[in-house]
Amino acid sequence: MNKTYTIHFAVLAILLVITFVVNISVGSIFIPINEVFKAILLGDASKDSWLTIVTNYRLPKAIVAMLVGSGLAISGLFMQTLFRNPLAGPFVLGISSGASLGVALLFLGSSFLGGSIFFSVFSSWSLPIAASLCALLVLLLIITTANNVKNTMSVLIIGLMFSSFTTAIVSILSYFSDAYEIQQYVFWGFGSLENLSWKEIYIFMFVFLIAIAFSFQLIKPLNSLLLGENYAKSVGINIKKNKHFILIITSLLTGIITAFCGPIAFIGLAIPHMTRLIFSTSNHKILIPASLLIGAIVLLVCDCIAQLPGSEFTLPINAITSLFGAPIVIWLLVKKRNFV
């Protein structure tokens, strides 16, 4: 806690700006960097088509990438500290699976649940609502069980059970669904940072900022949890209240991210590890802002790769994050102690 990290943060901030601009400039059509600046800052570009591409497609996508990367990184960090387990993450807790279940019910269940009426009435809104509701439902179940189970490790296992449970329901639903519905669900499962309207992005940002504002309140309890719950209690931290806070923030972030962008794998698990490795600290006063920055940068980079610059194809973002995340986690576990 007596070290300073000004240089680290300065470098990360510069990297964030660079990746943000590069992310906007690359894609099926390359837009020169200086034109990107012009379009963002002045609302003007040499070609009308470039301006349209930037304001309607690339800028929203880059913003979403940052929100998703930062949000998942924070969720992962919180879960790893709370459960004192290096393999914890929003996925392990079953929150993402809860959101997936909501989406599956919407896409696959419509044929026999009469959801098609619901689907058409609420159109673009039904997806995030269904996903968030189911994520919240799973979270409430987890909080209830967490209150009855003393051991945090059991909560982790319960989370795993929830995900197998939801996977089972999804399989049953798929069995009774037609090809088109399954295709829709599978595409959602690939994950996508695109196709969000500005209105949706504002909602996304609003929820994100509230969650982040509260997460800075948790610096002290999270630090105290580094010594385990009993020690945390002995320095005057209200464990129960803060545990609930941590779980609510995590599910809020994971729920909204999964709803809008699909299940994005490995970011929540890998980013906190990367952050600890770079900053070599466990102090959350450093880890929280650092994870936010690194999460945003990594997802912007992943998205650049997914665009396959110069080609017309776009790879699923989920595949890229896994390709990038899985080796990092393996390398971390082999090379370093599996610290939290």
Binding site: Q217, G228, Y231, S234, H284, F339
Partner: protein, 251 residues
């Protein structure tokens, strides 16, 4: 007071009819065989678990009604549980003891830094301050954990079997450090331990758990009343009041 573990369905009473008071500035050892309730008593006193019946007063205030934040400025702990792995350095670990005093983002003020440094010097761990705590030996770690309670600046310090993994040299070292803290800083230190022979020499008071009753008295009085004979119901171990030590007879 009755202590034990409560769950929704059943109550598991570990020990009942406990009644004693502890004066300031004493070194108190809690002795008794495994599973008789030493740790349970410490957990109850420190409000880690609630008492089943009865009350605990700290300076005349029921600890049940005392906010956790306030209790944290009066009572600090060294537990037996092993610490979760993390990158914390010794300095950071000791600084976590300042949490009852730090602001909402856990910034260390000059007073906090001073207290941490003082704690490190008193426990002779200043040279370790930048080392990750995972690399410490058991003896070093115990001293660092004691430094953390010193940084927390509480009148009462509770230690649950602080010397369980230590050799005789380090055990004596830790106890001497605690004795010094009692004498120089008027701390009240409560230790549960199996080091009966050392406890007899060092303790100001002993809380002794036997099968049927919990005694609290000075070592001298307990020896005089032949209470130690009741400690182990074994024919192989007996208390030799001439040596003031437990001896092991080969049968």
């Amino acid at each position: 007071m009755t202590i034990g573990y409560e769950s929704r369905k059943k109550t598991n009473v570990v020990s009942n009819n406990i009644n004693f008071s502890i004066e300031k500035g004493r070194l108190i050892f809690i002795l008794g065989k495994n599973g008789i309730g030493k740790s349970t008593l410490l957990k109850t006193i420190s409000k880690t678990i609630p008492s089943i019946a009865g009350t605990i007063l700290c300076n005349g205030i029921k600890i049940k009604t005392l906010p956790e934040q306030q209790l944290a400025t009066q009572l600090s702990l060294v537990l037996t549980e092993s610490l979760p792995e993390s990158l914390l350095t010794v300095y950071e670990l000791v600084a976590l003891g300042r949490q009852p005093y730090t602001n909402w983002v856990d910034t260390l003020s000059d007073i906090d830094k001073e207290a941490v440094k003082k704690a490190l010097i008193q426990t002779e761990t200043l040279h370790l301050q930048n080392k990750p705590f995972l690399e410490l030996s058991d003896g070093q770690l115990q001293r660092v954990l004691i430094a953390r309670t010193l940084a927390q600046n509480t009148d009462i310090i509770i230690l649950d079997e602080p010397t369980a993994h230590l050799d005789m040299h380090h055990t004596v070292n830790v106890f001497e450090l605690l004795k010094k803290m009692v004498q120089e800083q008027q701390k009240t230190i409560i230790i549960s331990s199996h080091e009966i022979n050392l406890a007899l020499q060092l303790a100001d008071d002993i809380i002794l758990f036997t099968e049927d009753k919990v005694y609290k008295n000075t070592p001298k009085n307990l020896i005089k009343d032949n209470i130690f004979d009741k400690l182990f119901s074994s024919e192989y171990i007996s208390f030799n009041s001439n040596l003031q030590q437990f001896t092991f007879s080969k049968g």
